[in-house]
Symmetry: C2
C-alpha cells in the first residue's frame, strides 16, 4: 500500500488557503488526515474537505506533531514563526509567502521549470510570487529553445493577490461607485502602508511597498525570483529582467504584457507559438482571426497559464511581445504549492 500523508494547511481561512484545500482535494496526494490551521480568531470555524467537515485549529508549534506536509499561506511572519517548528518535527513545508524565497538553502520552485531544485530541500520549499510563476512557465520553453537575454514585463494584477479582505474591499468600492457613493479604502494598495486608495475603476501602480531603489517590492520579486528559478542565482546577469507592477480592477487572474529578447535571432513567432502549444502547463490562445486571446474571466478557476498575442517586434531581431493570463490564486499560489507537493511525493522527497 502506498504511503499516506498527514497534511496541515497553515492560513486555511485565507483566499489562497481556501484554494489550497480545493487543490489538495483534486490532487494525486493520498491524504490520511488534514489539519486546518489559522490564527486564534478563526479557530472553531469549520471548512469542508472531501465532503467532511474539518474544524479550524489555532496554530501552535505542537500543531505540527505527526504532520508530513505543510502548505503554508498565512503571511511571512507566520511562516518564519512556525515553519522551523514544523521542520523540527519532521514535516516538509511548501511556503507560499516571501519569507524564505531568497534563502540560498531554500529551493524556489515552479514544477514546469525547475523541479530538480526540490531534490536539495532542507524541509522548506518556497512557492514563488504569483506574477513570477505565470511568467516563467511561459518563458522557460522559449529560454530552453532559443536562450533568453532580456525580459520587460508590465503586470495587470487582480485584487485577490492582496488577499481576501482586499478583494472584499474592492467589490464594496465598485458597489459604492456605481451607487454614486464615496469609495473608501483601508487596505489597498498594500495592507499596513501609510496611504490607501480605491482600486475600483482605477489603476494603482504600487504592489507591496515602494523601495528606495524606485521599484516596488513586487517588481523586485519578479526580477530576482525569475533569475533564481531560471538559472539558480537571484543576481544572475542573464536573463536581464525589469518590471512594472500595477494593480487593476479585476477580482481574480493576473495579466502580463511581456516583451522579451532571445539569443537566437533566427527564432520566429511561429516557432515560439509551437513551443508554447506543447509546453507543460501552458494553453496557447492565439487566434487573431477569431479574436481568441487570454482573458482573466476565462482563466479564472483554471490551473493553466494562458498565452496569446505572440508577435515579433519588427524593429528588433529576436524580440517579441506576448500576453499571459493565469488564475493568481491557483497557478499563482495554491495549485503551484500543491503541484510542488505532488512532485515531492513523486520524487520520494517527503
Amino acid at each position: 500500500m502506498s504511503k499516506e500523508y498527514t497534511v496541515a494547511i497553515l492560513g486555511a481561512t485565507g483566499a489562497v488557503g481556501n484554494c489550497m484545500i480545493q487543490q489538495l482535494e483534486q490532487s494525486s496526494i493520498p491524504v490520511k488526515e488534514l489539519h486546518l490551521l489559522a490564527s486564534a480568531r478563526s479557530a472553531g470555524k469549520t471548512l469542508t474537505f472531501r465532503g467532511q467537515e474539518v474544524e479550524v485549529e489555532e496554530t501552535t508549534p505542537d500543531s505540527f506533531e505527526g504532520v508530513d506536509l505543510v502548505l503554508s499561506s498565512a503571511g511571512g511572519s507566520t511562516s518564519k514563526k512556525f515553519l522551523p517548528e514544523a521542520v523540527k518535527r519532521g514535516a516538509v513545508c511548501v511556503d507560499n509567502t516571501s519569507a524564505y524565497r531568497m534563502d540560498p538553502d531554500v529551493p524556489l520552485v515552479v514544477p514546469e521549470v525547475n523541479p530538480e531544485a526540490l531534490d536539495n530541500h532542507h524541509g522548506i520549499i518556497a512557492n514563488p510570487n504569483c506574477s513570477t510563476i505565470q511568467m516563467v512557465v511561459a518563458l522557460e520553453p522559449i529560454r530552453q529553445a532559443f536562450g533568453l537575454k532580456q525580459v520587460i514585463v508590465s503586470t495587470y494584477q487582480a485584487a485577490s493577490g492582496a488577499g481576501q479582505s482586499a478583494l472584499n474591499e474592492f467589490y464594496q468600492q465598485a458597489q459604492d461607485y456605481l451607487a454614486g457613493k464615496k469609495m473608501t479604502a483601508e487596505i489597498l494598495p498594500t495592507k499596513g502602508d501609510k496611504r490607501h486608495y480605491p482600486l475600483a475603476f482605477n489603476l494603482l501602480p504600487q504592489i507591496d511597498v515602494l523601495e528606495d531603489s524606485g521599484y516596488s517590492h513586487e517588481e523586485w520579486k519578479m526580477i530576482h525570483e525569475t533569475k533564481k528559478i531560471m538559472v539558480g542565482d537571484m543576481d544572475a546577469a542573464e536573463p536581464k529582467v525589469t518590471a512594472t507592477c500595477v494593480r487593476v480592477p479585476v477580482g481574480i487572474s493576473h495579466g502580463e504584457s511581456v516583451y522579451f529578447e532571445v539569443e537566437d535571432q533566427s527564432a520566429t513567432a511561429d516557432q515560439i507559438k509551437e513551443l508554447l502549444q506543447n509546453a507543460p502547463g501552458v494553453v496557447l490562445q492565439d487566434d487573431l482571426a477569431n479574436q481568441v486571446y487570454p482573458q482573466p474571466l476565462t482563466a479564472e478557476g483554471k490551473r493553466d497559464v494562458f498565452v496569446g498575442r505572440v508577435r515579433p517586434d519588427y524593429e528588433n531581431k529576436g524580440a517579441f511581445n506576448m500576453w499571459i493570463v493565469a488564475d493568481n490564486l491557483l497557478k499563482g499560489a495554491a495549485w503551484n504549492a500543491v503541484q510542488n507537493a505532488e512532485c515531492l511525493v513523486e520524487r520520494g522527497l517527503i
Copy 2:
C-alpha cells in the same frame, strides 16, 4: 477688435464631442457662433454652450458655409465625407479620427511636441490617437535632452476610449456582475468586430481590429503616430517603438507603463524627473515616500499628463521605466483638439 470665429463641432453628441464643447467654453478662442453637428438621429437635441442652449443640426455639406473652424470627432468615415466639404468652404478642421493621420499632407500635432507642423496645413490637422498623445507629451522633453532610441509601451486603456456607448455598456456589465447576473457584450472590445466580450472585472488585449501583422490597429497607431509626431516620418528608423494595448475596466483615463532607452547613457532618473517637472503639459507625481503616483481617478477631468514611478533599469544603461496617466477624453482627444485650434489662432493660421 480681434477676430471672432464661427466654430462647428462635428459629432457633438458623442463622448469626445461633449468634452469638446466644454473645452471650447474654457478656451481662449473668441467664438462668434457655434454649430453643433451630428447625424440625423441626434438632430433636434439641445446642448448648452456658455449658458445658452444650442440645437444639434444634421450634418450636410452646407452646414460648413461660413464656418472658420471645425472640431471633428464623429468617426473616420464621417470625417472623410464631410471635412473636404468644410475645407472647400474655407474652414480649417481639427480632426480627432484616424482618417487623415497618416496622410503626408496632414500635420499630426500635439502642441507641446510639434506645433510648428501646423504651419504647413492644407485645411485639415489631425489629432493623434489618445494613447499616443499622452506618451509623446512625456517622452518629448526626454528625447530633446538625451535622444530617444527605443520605446516599449504597455497600455491600460479606459472604456470611454471606445466611445460613450462602450462606456455605458461597461458600467451596465459591472452592475450586472455585482448583482450576480450574466454580463452581456455587444460593443467591446471593438464595435463591429465579430466577437464581443465583457470588460467589467476583465482585461481585453484588443483595441481596434487585429491585423495580419499580429498587432492590433491601436498598437500600429502608437508605433507610427509616435514616429510621425516626433520626427515627421511615420516609418522613421528611430525612435524604435513597440506597443501592447489592453482595455482595462476603468471608465476614464488611460494608464501606460513605458520602458525607454535614451542615446545619452549618462542620463539619470533625477535628471529625467527634473525635465518632466518643467515640461509643458506634464505634472510630475513621483514621491514614493508618500505613495504619490498617477492614478486614473485623480487624472479624470484634468488637462495635464501625469507622470510618475520614474526609475532606472539597473541592468541596462540609459534605460528607464515610468508610468503615465491622462484623461483620454481631454488631453487624449477634446483638449488636444481645442489646444491645436488655439495654436492655429495664435499662429494666425486660421
